[in-house]
Symmetry: D3
Subunit: 254 residues, 6 copies
């Protein structure tokens, strides 16, 4: 069915009656090094979410474009809101949808920094029996494939992300800058000193803003990543569409 | 210049250096009666905002798609967040942009229900000398033209809004439903009893969700409205780009 | 019946049993230009509210004297609280009254800056089915009369307000200062630039703090305004006293 | 000087220039047993505060009429707000006054339940070097006199309060009900079990709502109480007017 | 039964089934003058609480070691959180315990500054019918004995506290410093000017940080104080264990 | 030096002058399956923290015993506070310490659920230039050793935790219950469905509350784990004590 925003209230009534699950894309607008567009994360989320428009049992909500990116703020163009604001924005949106009867959802998330806020939002909605809305980070579903395709630990603006964007929006990747991205990149996310995770800001450990080996980027591999993750998303939507709402709620005291 | 989300952090550095003003589109996803798409308000805001991409002195931020629409919640498809959450989401986004040096902005707003939250956000940003970011409601700039073009008081999903969307996204208007929209519409916004504004929810005074006379909608008139409002927006951007930041701040005690 | 504060708990028990509606006066203590007393808004609200003491079906609460007046803060004597604090103060007061069984109320408001906070408070009380308590701004009920009596757009410390206070508290108007008030006044509220409402603070657009044509003030006209608005208030109280509480609550999903 | 609300902004400019201290009356509207009016506490505060209008160095603010009275809520007519809301309402009001240059104040308080919120507000204002605004509870200044005049421990709607109101507003005391008040009264405030202060609500330990021996009430004694407390208040105002602002702020780390 | 933290979840299931009441020790880590350890208040609370481990009907929770001590912050070593944070920390802990069925508790408190936060927490838990958890300040239960044993008004790091700690942890009292403590002490808590309680910080009225006459300290007397207060605590626990939960809740409107 | 709570304010003055870093132990009181005590996490944190008492450059604060454990709430004995409350409690405590001049700290954390709150607290303190206080999770420092010692993925009440507690407090491990713990345990933390992390509560994926293979527990291995992690902690303290405070703050915009 078309995205929710393209329905009238009349056609939405039917669509929401038919929908078993909702899909909410969330991302960020933040530095992704010298080679990738700032919108990488919300664009990826939107691209995955849009594939659900082919389904009769899923309704796609508008994309939430700014997220929890304070740790990238020293790099030009990064926008951010606080964790609490982001959690509220997404949680209340889902809660308002639930009033129309769709109470299962997948938050298709493109930005790791959003994860703990999304987990909290989902937890609260579940506690209150308002909705069951777990986040799904696209990269979590393709870890094995990523290991096959790329020789990197990565974590941000890496070969995998670069490949994906190259596949989705060729015009938003600057291949000539991948070298610079990698030259200034750290191998892995963060900075650990004797077991303590420091690295509060990306700039603490990455000169270019990237983490990983972006020069390995390849649009073909991006297509493989996209297809694989998309298939996982649809498997998840199938599973959730089938799952009785009652089974989604938090369990009682043992 | 391209929208912010399409820049890399490298090109953003230059773009933000050049930009005098930012443009942030905000709207809603809410019922607009049986004939218009739920995304009307954020789509209109986005359409106006995108015209600023032609300018060298303005940078366009991503669209905030869900707003303060609780009063439409009884109609299918309406999404909403609280005023406080919306105020925070927009205010913090602007504040994060200001860290990169762009401290004047216009919030291009497509939804009346967002106005008081946007005013508060702008007031706070101005008090703190973080940014000067007044909201601009597209309809406020074309009141005289609207009086010429349409015989209605209107206020929501009316002839003016219907015309505009028809112009922008013909596929998202259902002309056959305009009659039903008008049949169930109220003449004017709200419900007043002996001077007290009741009408807390749209459903209190409108059966179809519309307010005004949507059957007068006409895409040609929509084009006229769009062009006129767009010209006002650009005049505002010209004015703000020229205005020294110092003149924007709140004045001292008399 | 006497105002609530003059009852003992014993006589209050009976009075609250008899009361169908409560009346809560709210205003501000803020600059009203060089000719009018700072207490204008709460004094007007109190004057209207007190007329309800003649009714057997209405109980009058104490006056809330400080409101949402931050935008007047550059003028001497202005007091203010934040919108959120004001909303909470009034909303919680009404909620506490509701515990004694009086769940319909009119907030008799004398200050425009309070309006959106009062609307939010009323909306929340209604959502929770705690109370139905719409605000009533005295000036909204006499717009036509004001057009007949005064040649001004006005909006603050204008001819209408000056006349009303002159009628209510002659000692608190300085007729000799009306000329200065008008000389430094703006014609209309706020400041609009290409459709954008600027004018965040009164001082941005008014030198004297007044908006309108205060030299037209006249205590006789003030009396007319008072009588007309009072009659509207009582008509509203009649209407609300009759209205079943069930009809006051928010409607269910369509 | 006249109360602040009776000044225009022009005369307020001078008055605030002259004023060394402000006086803010705070109280409550809450049950005071069968014999005393609900407004007892804010009326008393107002009466004390008004005596400061005779001074050239003090400006009197409007009365805050509803306070922290949740613990009286089971008795008819009690109004209340939360501690946090009350703290904010008073604190923000004082803060707004400070913008006009008056940064020393006495909060003349008539209700014990307000005390901890007022202490917190005063502490915060002092920390921030916004204002020095200690609360003054009228009864705390006349403990010795009370011991001489009345044979009671008391604490609420007792002989001392009844006498004071009798003196101030004879029409708001019902002498015939004093017997009933005392018959249902507890001797002392609260309820202690093995050292634990229970008595969360007044109804937990008092049948009539009174605490003490109201039958000892006497308007002559009320006059003595009033005069003595008033003299203490003026001594406090003298002291505070003289005290350099610098000496009011919190001390540095030892 | 052993303290809760020493149970496994399996043995806790039985213990919580048997427990009628919980005991939560709360205190502070704050200056107690030159002679007593900073941990005085939480150590005392813990010592009293541990005596409840001998009971089969009481379960002892871990000690909350930092409290509302901002007013001691100018003295080295003082730690503190805000009242709101402390109230939440203790209230939520009790609320989580209530999920396991133990809904009556005594908060064994060693620090006067915690009292109003604990009262508020207890009030809220009671309102919500989550738990009945009154605070018990050890010194409130032994006022008469203190009058017999010590010739002081006291209030902080005084002879009574010094004696108690001497009894509990001899190693944490420096007898040689008691003289200095007393030399710089104030006689009584706070500072009153014409009935207004000033003394927002301890440093405002005490040079050494102590209030009272610590040189009277004596471990034997400390033992007497401990035994007497402990007996009161156990009497309170007996009483509360017997009290039906229904009798603990707030009463309905009169 | 002795723990802070055992100092007087006089000796604390010297100690805090000498101290380069503070150590704050945080943990939880929550189910650890049938074989381990509920206090596991705060006891482990406290044990590690206490080893810092041997240093002249470190001051040890009291243990925060209840943490972010809502996800264990269905198992008996689990206590918890919200993430926000925990973040505030720890953050404000550190902030109060910083007033005495110690502005570098390590939060020695024993509970994974506390991590994101501690990260946020540390981030805020760093942003404000109040303190630099990264959390250190003991298990993060010994991952390689754990892989050598135990054949498990684990994550909660597993062989590693069981071994550690067995080493620290033999009396608080029930070896006979380790089999039951493992029988009902999950292999790894959480529950993933097509890339989406479900498993909001432990009970969703573990019958016994344990995650891992507790039957491999061995006090000798616990000793190895303890020694290795302790050494890492001290290396971290050495590093932090040396690090100039200026180098700890967030970096400026690139």
């Amino acid at each position: 069915m078309p995205p929710l925003a393209e329905h009238t209230t009349t056609t939405a009534a039917d669509a929401l009656e038919d929908a078993e699950v909702a899909v909410i894309p969330t991302g960020s607008t933040e530095q992704h090094g010298p080679a990738l567009a700032l919108g990488m994360d919300h664009m990826a989320a939107e691209a995955f979410a849009r594939t659900a428009s082919d389904r009769d049992d899923a309704v796609v909500l508008p994309t939430v474009p700014v997220g929890v990116s304070e740790h990238h703020r020293q790099f030009d163009g990064t926008l951010y809101v606080t964790e609490e604001t982001f959690e509220r924005y997404v949680g209340e949106t889902i809660s308002s949808l639930a009033e129309h009867g769709v109470r299962k959802a997948v938050v298709v998330n493109g930005h790791g920094g959003n994860s703990s806020a999304l987990r909290r939002a989902a937890r609260t909605l579940r506690e209150d029996r308002t909705a069951f809305a777990p986040p799904w980070n696209w990269w979590d579903s393709v870890e094995d494939l990523a290991d096959d395709l790329f020789d990197e630990e990565g974590g941000h603006a890496d070969a995998m992300e670069s490949s994906l964007l190259w596949h989705l929006r060729e015009d938003l990747v600057d291949p000539d800058a991948l070298e610079a991205a990698e030259a200034g990149a750290s191998e892995a996310w963060g900075e650990t000193v004797h077991g303590a995770a420091l690295g509060f800001d990306t700039i603490d450990f990455s000169e270019s803003g990237a983490v990983g080996r972006p020069t390995q980027a390849d649009p073909e591999k991006g297509a493989q990543v996209f297809d694989a993750a998309r298939d996982h998303l649809h498997a998840l939507l199938d599973w959730l569409a089938e799952r009785p709402l009652e089974d989604c709620w938090a369990r009682e005291h043992k």
